[in-house]
Amino acid sequence: MSTMTDTNPTDVPQSILKSPKHWRNRIAGHHWRSGDEEFDAAKLGMWLFLTTEVLLFAGIFCGYAVFRMMYPEAWANGSHYLDWRFGAANTAVLLLSSWTAANAVRCAQLDKQFWLRVNIIVTIACAALFIFIKLKFEYMVKLGQGKAPGTFFSYPHAHDAHEPLWWSLYYIGTGIHALHVVIGAALFGVVLYYAKRYQAYGPTQYTLVENAALYWHLVDLVWIFLFPLLYLIH
């Protein structure tokens, strides 16, 4: 499905032409029959890892469902305390970054080294913007009002005794998700370094770009469900 704009592979500078880290010079491990098998195995391994991540977040979603069933009043109040505009803005930011992550894979597949780097940089910038919005407009403001988790809760106008539990779940859920955003951005940082320094990813060798992007899409996927659960359902 390549198009006219796709066919502009990058020239390799002489300084890295012979580097073993350049994608043309990288070979599959000797225990693999081919690079394809190595790629497929790495990708399957990544998917298996992603299932454990899904199960990690499933614990939070299950806690949400159980507590929502037990304390519906506190959960309705809880979602009213959150501003949907910040949640929606962060959703848009993550969707955009997911798109650039997918494009990064595509650029690696087509040996468009410049656009590979641009897409990774935009992805990392989106991660930083997500964390900024989360900290500046949500965490800091709410903690300042006393809407803190569990026994740290000191918000004087609570209407339900179980609102501290809501905030516990909110901070755990969004906090672990934010941690994943940071880890994903760091992973893309590693990809960016090797892409810039060695042009390490190209049509025959882009496993790390693909797996970093898969990780990033999962982070996006989790937020797609966290956003309506926390901000919209009341």
Binding site: M1, D6, N25, T51, L55, A88, T91, F153, A161, L218
Partner: protein, 277 residues
Amino acid sequence: MDYTEHTKAENVAQLGWDPEDPHGINPHHGEHHHFIADWRMQVGVLAILLFFTFLTVAFFRVEVWAEVAFGIHLPGWVNIAGAMSIATIKGILVAAFFMQLKYDKVLNTFVLLFCLLCVGLFLGFSMIDLGSRHLVNPMAAGEISTGGTGVGLNSAPADEDFSVRMSPKVNTQGMGIIYEARLTGTDNKDHHYWGLEKFRNDPNHSEAEFWEIHYGDHATHRDPMDEHDYFTQLGFGHHAEESDANKSRGRTGMTPGIFSDVAVDDHGAHDSHDDGH
């Protein structure tokens, strides 16, 4: 997809061997291609995802507006079903097109689906458990415990019209939290006793009703909290059977007579034992 072919030929010419097939084991390697997504499709998927984000927010806003402006209160499941359906569609789009499951090996899709099946079991059984406890014991219905703070809805209100309640922070009056919990009974996890207090204080119910249900489930012994012996009054006494060789009765509490004084004739027992030899 002639690009890969070109690259492979170029690689082989430049290096003298094929980096995709360094051992020359798979000569038909060129027949397999990784899927390269069309950029127009990727833009389209992003646009649809952003549209669905707008849609789910609009759905939420319209619902709030209908309630505020016209007093139309949609039932809770409409809210949940709407938001979750849209989230599921978005999730499928991300998994199929951005994560490329649609073009990938089917194995990866099955890995994800099996994981989601496990999540479904995990969520489903938790919900079935929580949603059907009242069928086993009516007292377990509704709000189950006072939650993680140790103070429930009956904590003192902060104003006269009861609209604002005190922050339910734990105040142990300077005592250790475990001591305080024992003193106030908040560490009593037994929902039967919690229900007992409720039935005793409720003018529409009697304590007898509580014990009727309680002994219906646990009819083997009189409960120590049953101060007025509803166990006998309600006719559950005949259930108190002992285990024998043909049937065993579930028992909680102490074995009768375990601490009663029994004169043990050590000397006599010793003698009779010796007689056996």
